[in-house]
Symmetry: C2
Subunit: 254 residues, 2 copies
DNA sequence: TAGTGGTCTAGACCACTGC
DNA sequence: CAGTGGTCTAGACCACTAA
């Protein structure tokens, strides 16, 4: 192996490993050679090899398990899908999203929801137009696909719309919540969804099984009722390098 | 400065610098202390300091200019906005998007478009339902906000719908293209937009002025006409850590 | 225990910037 | 030129995993 160029050697090693992964030399889930082995092959120091691996980790191509080895990241082919403007029932895509997972041969699973009455974080309070002292009902759950951690879902409902914690039970997911809100005269009809990418917190990285600092999607949805009052704000977090979000819509006029 | 814990020292340095940036100790655009200076302060090697800075770069908090210094990344407060299901004219949000930029006090600017007839990349060919040998009209441009690079926009139109390169001139942007497609009987009425996050290529990183390997949004839009034929596929690339995407929609039935 | 990855050092040299 | 960040080494030690 010869590496001489105006390009950093650890970058060249990363390039070669990336190409090997994409060409299938190292299959999904398969281990890469150990760092000492790679150092020997390329005639480099282990420190440089470690750095090359760090590049691939940052790109989400490789997952490292301390003491075990580095493995080619298996990227789910699944797509998280929301259909907008279709003949959907209005619960913002949860059902269709789960169907999509099942079609891809995965079993969506949700932990039981945890419910609390809290003073929401600043961003949520702004979205819900609450003052510093207003409370909201917080519902949080973690979701899995085939036992692989997938998403952290958090939803806030102003107490003025929720009435009390009872509205969260029995737990039938967001769609059920929307029905109950509608019964109370706060049925959501308009939705805004913001998509941000940021580095994962250490907690998020641990749950999602990604490297610390890898990018995550933060999807912030706000639902408004027919009188344009915000009735729900939710924040969902998922590994940005492993998912694809899809939005669909039609022209209004033709 | 004392750093002793079960946490890597370079991580602790990154934590402290991150906190200092968020608290405003180092303002947006301001330089961080030099690496030798930080090494002295923390009693660490420059190599470790370099690594701490690398963490902040990966998070998009810091931008480094070789030979000049490390600077706190100024994150645009702008939001890229698409309004869906509103009374919009159907050209997928370009106009509203530009208005949003102007409202934020920025001047959107586009380089002249380049036009080519090419065999499109595989993903685009699939989206447009083209065979390996079919050609498409490719329009590419780079866009700026206040002279800051913003987005790489590429659009493909099957030759069967475009007729010839003339359809791209005069250049009036995507909205104009849609009008011309409609005149030819291929007016788009339905849209699908996929959002992916991946590491930037070196070319993209250079243009967008972000670090190599930092995450970028790749927005892939496909437009279909009233007979559900794909008539345009576009791929837009922008720095994922500096933008927020917004989608809006309404329930169809109430 | 041996093998894996993670961190750190002290020092070196290079490339780039700005004077 | 001095000052900045970027790369690399040789070696050390630590933490974790699996047998």
């Amino acid at each position: 192996m010869s590496l001489e160029a105006p390009r950093a050697r650890y970058q060249q090693v990363a390039d070669e490993l990336r190409a090997a992964i994409k060409s299938g030399t190292y299959a999904a889930g398969a281990p890469l050679p150990s760092q000492p082995e790679l150092a020997r092959r390329y005639g480099l120091n282990q420190t440089s090899i470690n750095r090359a691996i760090a590049v691939l980790r940052a790109e989400g191509l490789v997952r490292v398990e301390h003491g075990r080895g580095a493995f080619v990241q298996e990227v789910p082919a699944v797509k998280r899908v929301r259909r907008i403007g279709s003949d959907y029932d209005g619960s913002t895509g949860e059902k269709i999203y789960e169907d999509e997972l099942r079609r891809a041969g995965l079993s969506p699973r949700a932990e039981p929801v945890t419910v609390d009455v809290v003073i929401p974080p600043a961003e949520i309070a702004v979205a819900l137009r609450l003052s510093d002292t207003d409370h909201a009902l917080m519902r949080r759950r973690r979701m899995y696909a085939d036992d692989a951690p997938m998403e952290i879902a958090t939803s806030y409902i102003p107490m003025s719309a929720a009435g009390g914690p009872d509205i969260a039970f029995p737990d039938t997911g967001p769609a059920g919540m929307y029905v109950r809100l509608a019964e109370r005269g706060f049925g959501p009809v308009r939705f805004t969804e913001d998509i941000e990418v940021r580095a994962a917190t250490t907690d998020e990285a641990r749950f999602l099984r990604i490297g610390a600092g890898q990018p995550v999607f933060e999807l912030s949805r706000t639902a408004f009722d027919s009188r344009d009052r915000p009735v729900e704000a939710s924040a969902n977090v998922l590994a940005a390098l492993q998912w694809r979000l899809r939005y669909q819509w039609r022209r209004e006029r033709e």
